[in-house]
C-alpha cells in the first residue's frame, strides 16, 4: 500500500486504491472493489503496478491477484438487491409518492447546468462519466456519489446535471438540490417552529438528494445527526444521494466518523483544475451560452493563459470583456481583452513576489524559509528550493540573476538548472507534478 501511495498521486490513490479491501489467502490476494466502476478502472490502470509490487515484495512464489466487487465489512450482502429488498423499496416508493403529492417540493435545479453545457477535459472526465451513469441509473449505479475538488471547478454544475437528467428521464422524480448551509438553516427553523417531523419527512421522501459543500456540516452536530438519518433512509430505499465537498470524505474536518465512512460507500471522484485547452473550451462555451458570442480562439487563449485558478474567475473575466465589447462596440481581439482585464491582471502580477513564493513553498513542505536560502543540500531542502526557483521563474518577471540572488546569492546557472530539473521531474514523477500544481494554484488564486 505504502509503495503504491508513493507511486501514485494522492488523488489517484484516494480515488482508486484506498476504497479497495484486501483479503489475503495463501496463494492469492482478493481485492474487493466497492463497485464496477472502480473495478474496471483499477483493472485497466493499476493492476500491472500492483502485480509488480507484489512480485517484488514476496520472497517465494508471488500470490495471484483477484479483483472482484464486494466489501470485507459487508461481504455477506451481495451487490444485487434481494427480492425482499427490492419489494421493500418499491413499496416504500409507492407510499411516498402517494402520501407526498399534496406538498410539492421546490426543486431548485438550475436548468442551465446540464451535461451538454459541461465542458469535458482531462481534469473532470471521470467525475463526468460517473455522473452520467448515475443520471441514467439513479439509486442503483453508485450511491452516494461524492464529488470533491477545489472551489469553482464544476462540482455544482455536475451535480445539477445529474439532477436534470434524472428529471428528464422521469419527470415525476422528486429531485432536491440544496447547499448544506440551507439544510442546516431549514432544520434550525423547523426546530424553532416545532415542525421537525415535517422536515424529516420532506427530506427522507425524495428520489434524489443533492447536497452541496458538505464540509459546512463540520462542527454542526445536530445537523449531522439529522443528516445521518436522512442519509440512511434514502440509502436503504435506494434513492440517489449526491454530495460535494472541497476534499476527500475522510479529510473533511469536523464530521463524525460514521458520516465520513458513509460518504465513501459509493463512488468518490475528484475534479481538478482544468488545463489550458479545457479552459479555452469552457470560455468559448460560456461565451456562446451566456452571451451568444463566438469568442475568437486567440482571445480565448489569451484569457485562458492568464486566468488559471478556477472557472468562476474565468467567467468573471469573460463577463468583463463581453460587457466592454458590447458597450464600446469594439472588436474582440487579444489586445482588447488585455485592456479590459488590465486591473485583474495587474492585481495578479502584484500578488506574486519571490518572497511570497518562498514563504508558500516553505509552508507547503513544512520547512523554514531560511532553509530555502541556506547552503543545505539534503534532498528535503534542495527539492523544495528547486521548485520555488522554478515557480519564481514562471510567475514573476524577475531575471534569473535576480532570482538567484533572492535565494541566498546563488548563481543564475543554478536557477536555470533548477527550472530544467523541475520540468523534467514533473514529466516523470506524478508527486512532483501534483506538488507543483498545488503550489502554482495557491500562488495564482
Amino acid at each position: 500500500m505504502d509503495r503504491l501511495e508513493g507511486e501514485l498521486s494522492s488523488q489517484q490513490f484516494n480515488t482508486w486504491i484506498r476504497p479497495l479491501h484486501a483479503i489475503e489467502a495463501t496463494e492469492s490476494i482478493r481485492l474487493l472493489a466497492p463497485n464496477q466502476f472502480v473495478l474496471n478502472w483499477v483493472k485497466n490502470n493499476h493492476l500491472g503496478q500492483i502485480n509488480s509490487i507484489i512480485n517484488e515484495l514476496s520472497r517465494t512464489k508471488p500470490p495471484s491477484v483477484i479483483l472482484e466487487i464486494g466489501s470485507r465489512l459487508k461481504e455477506k450482502k451481495s451487490a444485487a438487491p434481494s427480492l425482499s429488498e427490492s419489494l421493500h423499496s418499491q413499496i416504500q416508493n409507492r407510499s411516498l409518492t402517494l402520501s407526498d403529492r399534496s406538498e410539492p417540493l421546490p426543486c431548485n435545479l438550475n436548468p442551465d447546468f446540464t451535461f451538454e453545457t459541461f465542458v469535458e477535459g482531462k481534469s473532470n472526465q471521470l467525475a463526468r462519466a460517473a455522473s452520467v451513469q448515475i443520471g441514467e441509473n439513479p439509486g442503483t449505479a453508485y450511491n452516494p456519489l461524492f464529488i470533491y475538488g477545489g472551489v469553482g471547478l464544476g462540482k455544482t454544475h455536475l451535480m445539477h446535471a445529474v439532477g436534470n437528467m434524472i428529471l428528464l428521464n422521469n419527470p415525476a422524480s422528486r429531485v432536491v438540490y440544496l447547499h448544506s448551509e440551507g439544510f442546516v438553516a431549514e432544520m434550525v427553523n423547523a426546530l424553532q417552529h416545532n415542525t421537525i417531523e415535517k422536515f424529516k419527512t420532506k427530506y427522507r421522501s425524495v428520489n434524489a438528494l443533492l447536497i452541496d459543500d458538505v464540509q459546512f456540516f463540520g462542527g454542526k452536530e445536530r445537523s449531522q445527526e439529522e443528516f445521518f438519518h436522512t442519509f440512511n433512509a434514502l440509502f436503504e430505499s435506494r434513492q440517489q444521494i449526491i454530495l460535494t465537498s472541497d476534499r476527500f470524505p475522510k479529510e473533511v474536518k469536523g464530521l463524525e466518523e460514521r458520516l465520513k465512512s458513509r460518504f465513501g460507500w459509493g463512488l468518490t471522484v475528484a475534479v481538478e483544475p482544468p488545463d489550458l485547452e479545457t479552459r479555452v473550451a469552457i470560455l468559448k462555451t460560456k461565451a456562446k451560452q451566456l452571451f451568444n458570442v463566438d469568442l475568437p480562439n486567440e482571445v480565448a487563449f489569451f484569457i485562458g493563459k492568464r486566468v488559471r485558478s478556477n472557472i468562476r474567475e474565468l467567467e468573471g473575466a469573460l463577463r468583463r470583456i463581453i460587457a466592454n465589447a458590447q458597450f464600446t462596440g469594439g472588436q474582440l481581439t487579444p489586445e482588447f481583452a488585455k485592456n479590459a482585464l488590465r486591473d485583474m491582471l495587474v492585481a495578479q502580477d502584484k500578488q506574486v513576489t519571490i518572497g511570497n513564493i518562498q514563504k508558500t513553498v516553505a509552508e507547503y513542505f513544512k520547512i523554514r524559509t531560511s532553509d530555502l536560502l541556506s547552503n543545505k543540500r539534503s534532498r528535503t531542502i534542495a527539492r523544495p528550493r528547486q521548485i520555488a526557483m522554478a515557480l519564481a521563474k514562471e510567475l514573476t518577471s524577475h531575471s534569473l540573476p535576480e532570482i538567484g540572488d533572492a535565494f541566498g546569492g546563488r548563481d543564475h546557472t543554478t536557477v536555470l538548472y533548477a527550472t530544467r530539473k523541475v520540468a523534467e521531474l514533473r514529466e516523470g514523477d506524478s508527486r512532483v507534478e501534483e506538488d507543483f500544481g498545488n503550489l502554482f494554484r495557491t500562488l495564482t488564486s
Binding site: V151, E181, G182, E313, G316, A323, M344
Partner: protein, 234 residues
C-alpha cells in the same frame, strides 16, 4: 410593500442616478441600470478608491427600484461596529441587496461565512446583488476560498475618479441643487486651491452652502470662497 431598509439606515436624499456625475464611468452606470432592469448581470462588483461614488451608486440603485415592486436593502458595512453578521441572515429573501464596502469585513470568519450564505441564497433565487469595495475581487483578503471565488464570478466594474472636467460638473451639480450660483471662474479657483477628491469637494460645498445662508447670498464669488477657505487671511 415599501422598500425594506434594515435598522434606521436611510438613503441619502441626493443619491440618485440623475445627480451622479458619470464622466468616465458611463459603462458602469449602463451595467448597473441593465442589472436593475433585469436585462443585465444579476451580480455586480463595483470597486474604486474612496470618493469615486460607490455609496452614491449603491444608494441610487436602491432608489431606482419602484417602491412596492421589489424588496431591496442597502447595507453600509462601514457601520460594521454597530452590526453583527446576523444582519445579513434575513437578506437572502430580498430581490436586491446592495452591500457597501465589503472589504471592511474580510478576514472576519463570521462575516465571511454570513456573506457566503447570503451570496448562495441570492444566487439560487436569481435575485440581485451589488457589492462595493476599495479593490478588485482578486485582491480582497478573503480567507474563505468558497466566498473568494464567488466574489470573482460576476462582472467587476472599476470606478474611475473624476478628472477636472468632471469635478467642475460635480461642483456645478451640487451648487444647482442647493440653489447656489457657481461661476466657472470660482469652480476653477476651488480646484486649484483645495483637495480635489469628490468627498472633500462635496464637503466644501456643504460649508459654502451654510456660509452663504448666513451671509444671505446665492452667488459664490472667488472672494466669498476665500473667506470660507481661509477666514484668517481675508
Amino acid at each position: 410593500m415599501l422598500p425594506q431598509l434594515p435598522l434606521g439606515i436611510s438613503l441619502r436624499e441626493s443619491a440618485c442616478f440623475d445627480t451622479f456625475i458619470g464622466l468616465g464611468n458611463q459603462q458602469t452606470i449602463a451595467d448597473l441600470k441593465a442589472c436593475l432592469a433585469g436585462s443585465g448581470e444579476r451580480y455586480l462588483y463595483l470597486w474604486g478608491p474612496a470618493g469615486t461614488g460607490k455609496s452614491h451608486l449603491l444608494q441610487a440603485s436602491c432608489r431606482a427600484v419602484q417602491p412596492g415592486s421589489k424588496r431591496v436593502a442597502y447595507v453600509p458595512l462601514s457601520l460594521v461596529d454597530h452590526f453583527t453578521p446576523g444582519i445579513l441572515s434575513d437578506l437572502g429573501e430580498l430581490d436586491l441587496v446592495c452591500l457597501d464596502d465589503i472589504h471592511l469585513v474580510c478576514e472576519a470568519p463570521a462575516w465571511e461565512s454570513s456573506l457566503f450564505s447570503l451570496f448562495n441564497q441570492l444566487w439560487e433565487r436569481r435575485a440581485g446583488l451589488i457589492v462595493s469595495a476599495d479593490r478588485p475581487p482578486a485582491r480582497l483578503p478573503v480567507q474563505l476560498a468558497d466566498l473568494a471565488s464567488r466574489l470573482e464570478w460576476g462582472l467587476s466594474c472599476q470606478l474611475n475618479p473624476l478628472d477636472d472636467v468632471g469635478r467642475v460638473a460635480l461642483l456645478d451639480e451640487s451648487a444647482k441643487r442647493r440653489g447656489l450660483h457657481l461661476p466657472k471662474a470660482t469652480a476653477r479657483y476651488i480646484l486649484s486651491h483645495t483637495a480635489r477628491d469628490a468627498t472633500s469637494l462635496l464637503e466644501l460645498m456643504e460649508r459654502l452652502d451654510l456660509a452663504s445662508l448666513a451671509a444671505q447670498r446665492s452667488k459664490l464669488t472667488i472672494h466669498f470662497v476665500k473667506t470660507v477657505l481661509e477666514p484668517d487671511e481675508v
